[in-house]
Amino acid sequence: MTTPVLQARGLVKRYGRVTALAGADLELLPGEILAVIGDNGAGKSSLIKALSGAVVPDEGEILVDGRPVSFSSPIDARDAGIETVHQSLAVSPSLDIAANLFLGRERRRRGVLGSVFRMLDRNGMRDEARRQLDALGIMTIQNPGQAVETLSGGQRQAVAVARAAAFGSRVVIMDEPTAALGVRESRAVLDLVLQVRERGLPVILISHNMPHVFEVADRIHIQRLGRRKAVVDPKTVSMSDAVAIMTGAMEPPGQFA
């Protein structure tokens, strides 16, 4: 059996008397798109936040390539090769595209200019930003020197995805990447998700949109009441059955996964 790239075992997260995660498990296999669906309050966000280091779980463990890790900040998860596209995108609107792509990991110039004067390698970062956008087929964004706030919702999403794809060496997590987008923009972002997988990076995709989930996912993780209720194959389980399992109207068929 293949070792999961990213695995969660028995994660528990409580907020006061509310239990957001009640022993949640998750397995992400190499090269797959794993969709995570669940009703509101099922613990999707808490699960994803735990995996991306944004919250620290009270119990349970997280394994990367089979080795236990502990994330106390988003920086730890990032250092482990896990990049997250947050629903809020986590971009800085007034900075330009290249600056956002390299936010928090800026490159400095070589030599004295970089080591003593701490000068940023603007041109290098701009060229690399251009390369990353081109590689994902979003070269129609004219200029990496453009401020992110001048971009449309879909373009901002593309910048956030490009950042994750550029720096994620193991896993890319995307939280509701199409939630705020129109039909055409959603289409383009889904293509980006597929392209990230083509690069060999496994993706965790959190979405409310069943048609999107069923279109791109290899497996679907159904979260319910703070736990993993089932993992289903979108080719054998219908959309309405997945929703029924998600809402508790139906028990999952056989043993899950």
Partner: protein
Amino acid sequence: MSTTLSQSHSSGGNPLGGDDTKRSPLARLQHLLHSQATIGPAAVLLVAIVVFAVLSPRFLTPGNISLILQQVAVIGTLAVGQTIVILTAGIDLSCGAIMVLTSIVMAKVAADTGLPGLPALLLGFLVGTLCGLLNGLLVTRLKLPPFIVTLGTLNVFFALNLWYSESATIRGTDMPSLLLWTGQTINLGGTRVTYGSIMMVVLVAAMAFALKNTAWGRHVYATGDDLEASRLSGIRTARVLLSVYATAGAVYALAAWVLIGRIASASPQAGQMDNLDSITAVVIGGTSLFGGRGAIVGSLIGALIVGVFRNGLALAGVDVLWQTLAVGVLIIVAVSLDQWIRKVKP
């Protein structure tokens, strides 16, 4: 570079591509001001200089320019620290109090104990930095709004200043000459310029470089733009805020040195309104009070605009009260402009 920014035409095939909407001249102006925040203030300064030069033949004389620069040096220096705080969506009401406290520390320690100029100066810098650090700790640890933190420390630092100085002014003749050096002048092309003014310009250039060309500078902007997004992007936002408030404190100590040179003494009652004047300079200079947008050079221009207005109106024989009214109107115009610029459409 940015030539393709607004004229670009996308094929329209890719929804993630650039937009090609035609803009009205007004919208284009909005976009220009949005991308270059200092253009507006620079234009205002130029117009003001031209108008006052026409109104009064004395305005552009070397002596008068020198005077404006001296008058602006203290506020301009304070404004550098104020700008980096405001860029993080903060505000520093305590800057004037920190400056006065450090000026008293520098002067009184030297006058009382005979400590030479350099150690007295360094002690002042230490005090200024620690005061700023205290502000930063209160903002990041107790998570109090910067307005409240610095309103509180303004009173604390001012009281400490009255206590330590025993409300007495320290005369320049009792101080080491190094502390008064910032008030000395050198002749630059017929204009006598104080070392304090030159130091302010050098400080502005150095801070502008740091904000524009270092990762720290970007993190300052990003933290002010969106704190949570910055944290999720892996920026250690608490550390950025601490460094900003501490750096601002050190800058206020520099302002204290400039102040001592300017008034040739150290007075516990000096600079009572300087905190508001520095905020005025920053705001008129195009830096947004909501954080994440603006530039240091703008604040220098803002300080110069206030200086030029006051000086020009005085030369034109206008009463002080109208000068003050003019500055008030400038502030409101500047902030209205910022609000309008922020509403820029993608």
